[in-house]
């Protein structure tokens, strides 16, 4: 066909599509290879990762009966507690800040938003060390509290950035309209404004959870030397000792499968609702 019509951009021949699909699947294959090692090896008893000594679910029963060791159990609990508290504080703090910044003169907005970038851009080692030095200088003993404070520091900027666009997009007259229709300022806030920014708060909260759970660098410098560990610092200490607790394999297999199911279900739901 010689004549180009404007739809030709949407036409890709079979080969081009095949190349795209092959490329992506090959990339996924490489990305998932190490995870596959963890998944497969969670069903064998071998102490060494990558060694297959026959099918067994012993690691799973160990994990659930707590035989894996008190330190692993407390690392799991600490990770969950820190993530939930830090994400909750960050969401509240960040949402309030987003409102505050939104109603500020733009001069002040720019200053605060540029400082807000620092915890995002700074490497975790810098954030960790800077807080470590502050705690040392002020004589604050490091522990759960300092770790949570540190996590709030690097999570809140993301909450601010996910709530701000929602406020910007919001019709500024909505609030006034609610007041004109007889709502008190508190009601207008709760029934009109909050629902508008709620999706931003949720995505900020989920992002904070993931960042907190996955953090290593900042936690390492703010956890102190009292033996407090999250999963990240536990794995690091474990690997440096030479052996890796075998029960970590079933633990991350379960986390992986849970997230996979959650994502697929939410994706199917989203696809269904968008079709309607």
């Amino acid at each position: 066909m010689q004549i180009k019509n404007h739809r030709s951009i949407d036409r890709r021949n079979f080969t081009q599509r095949l190349i795209a699909h092959l490329y992506l699947w090959a990339l996924l294959l490489i990305l998932y290879a190490p995870i596959a090692v963890i998944l497969i090896c969670s069903f064998t008893e071998s102490k060494v990762l990558g060694n297959w000594t026959g099918f067994s679910v012993k690691l799973y029963t160990n994990l659930f009966s707590g035989v894996a060791g008190a330190s692993l159990n407390s690392a799991i609990i600490n990770t969950a507690i820190i993530a939930l508290i830090a994400a909750s504080i960050s969401t509240i703090l960040g949402t309030l800040a987003a409102f505050g910044i939104h109603y500020m003169p733009s001069r002040h907005q720019n200053v605060i938003l540029s400082i807000n970038q620092y915890p995002i851009i700074n490497p975790d080692i810098i954030t960790g060390i800077s807080l470590f030095l502050l705690f040392v200088a002020l004589g604050i003993s490091r522990g759960l509290g300092t770790v949570i404070a540190a996590h709030v520091v690097f999570c809140t900027p993301y909450v601010v950035l996910s709530v701000m666009p929602r406020l910007k997009r919001m019709n500024p007259n909505l609030y006034e309209a609610a007041l004109d229709l007889g709502a008190t300022p508190a009601q207008a806030l709760r029934k009109v404004i909050i629902p508008e920014v709620f999706p931003g708060m949720i995505s900020g909260f989920i992002l904070s959870l993931t960042l907190s759970i996955d953090d290593f660098g900042v936690t390492l410098f703010t956890k102190g030397s009292e033996g407090l560990n999250t999963l990240s610092t536990y794995i690091y200490a474990d690997a440096r000792k030479g052996g890796l607790t075998p029960e970590l394999r079933p633990l991350f297999t379960l986390i992986f499968v849970t997230i996979l199911i959650l994502l697929i279900v939410s994706n199917i739901r989203a696809a269904k609702s968008s079709k309607k």
Binding site: F99, G100, I112, Y118, I129, L133, F256
Partner: protein, 264 residues
């Protein structure tokens, strides 16, 4: 009067940011000043340049910084070259990539990156590959590739398809459309992808330690060891400050190069 009251009401809302501003001042700005303070003092708290003299007279530390920069640069380039096509294929509807593919690319991030790194090292062992520099670069690309793909995917998805149609209507070939329309419009995504890959790779220490069994030492390891030793706190702070300045210079250079290229 009514209107006045409402405006004052909205005006008060700016104070909602006060708690966060306090957090920013005391837990972001002040700690960064602490790095500078410790970097320019000795153990007794007296002003000194000694920590920097120590750094600049030790070729070991300087070499490690340059080496880490090189590794981070290669990692970033590999991630960009590998990640851009992936983002492009997923963002372009006519390739008919299932939406679930996007999820599959984020999913590995939910498995702890240290555990994934250890598994990568095991995998290299199983296949019989040495745990050398190439393994390190592979491991870092593997850890940070999603951070390159996502920003690019987001900026590509935002491109108005009408622009592509217009470009074709005006006689551009597909290749021309890509280089003159798609690539420039995806630049914000490339920029944030590059930052999100470069920053953690230039400062990492855990990945290199675990992946190469401590054979390769990056700048992050030196900083971490100085800080954790307890006695070299001030030297560690100086190294952190050097890394911070180094990173900011790199970003500044990147921005300036960007401005110049957009002027021409």
């Amino acid at each position: 009067m009514e209107l006045f009251w409402k405006n004052k009401d909205l005006d008060k809302r700016r104070f909602w940011a006060v708690p966060y501003i306090e957090v920013l001042v005391f837990l972001v700005v002040l700690p960064m000043i602490m790095i500078a303070f410790y970097a320019f003092t000795n153990g007794a708290g007296h002003f000194t340049f000694y920590n920097f003299v120590q750094f600049f007279t030790q070729s070991d530390a300087i070499n490690t910084l340059i080496y880490s920069f090189g590794i981070a640069l290669i990692t970033t380039i590999v991630c960009l070259v590998v990640g851009y096509p992936a983002a492009y294929f997923m963002a372009t509807r006519s390739f008919r990539i299932p939406a679930v593919m996007i999820i599959l690319f984020i999913l590995p991030m939910w498995v702890n990156f240290l555990l994934r790194t250890i598994a990568t090292a095991e995998l290299f062992g199983l296949v019989g590959l040495p745990l050398d520099e190439n393994a390190l670069i592979f491991g870092m690309c593997y850890d940070f590739l999603p951070f390159m793909i996502y920003p690019i995917l987001t900026s590509l998805s935002k491109i108005d398809t009408a622009l592509l149609e217009a470009s074709q209507d005006l006689g551009a070939t597909r290749l021309q459309t890509f280089f003159k329309v798609i690539l420039p419009l995806s630049k914000p995504g490339i920029q944030s992808g590059v930052i999100m890959v470069f920053m953690p790779t230039v400062s990492t220490f855990a990945i290199s330690e675990l992946l190469t069994h401590n054979k390769i030492k990056l700048f992050g390891s030196i900083i971490q060891e100085s800080i954790n030793s307890g006695v070299m706190l001030n030297y560690g702070a100086a190294l952190s400050l050097i890394l911070l300045v180094f990173i900011n210079l790199t970003m500044l250079l990147g921005k300036n190069a960007d401005k110049e290229s957009s002027l021409h």
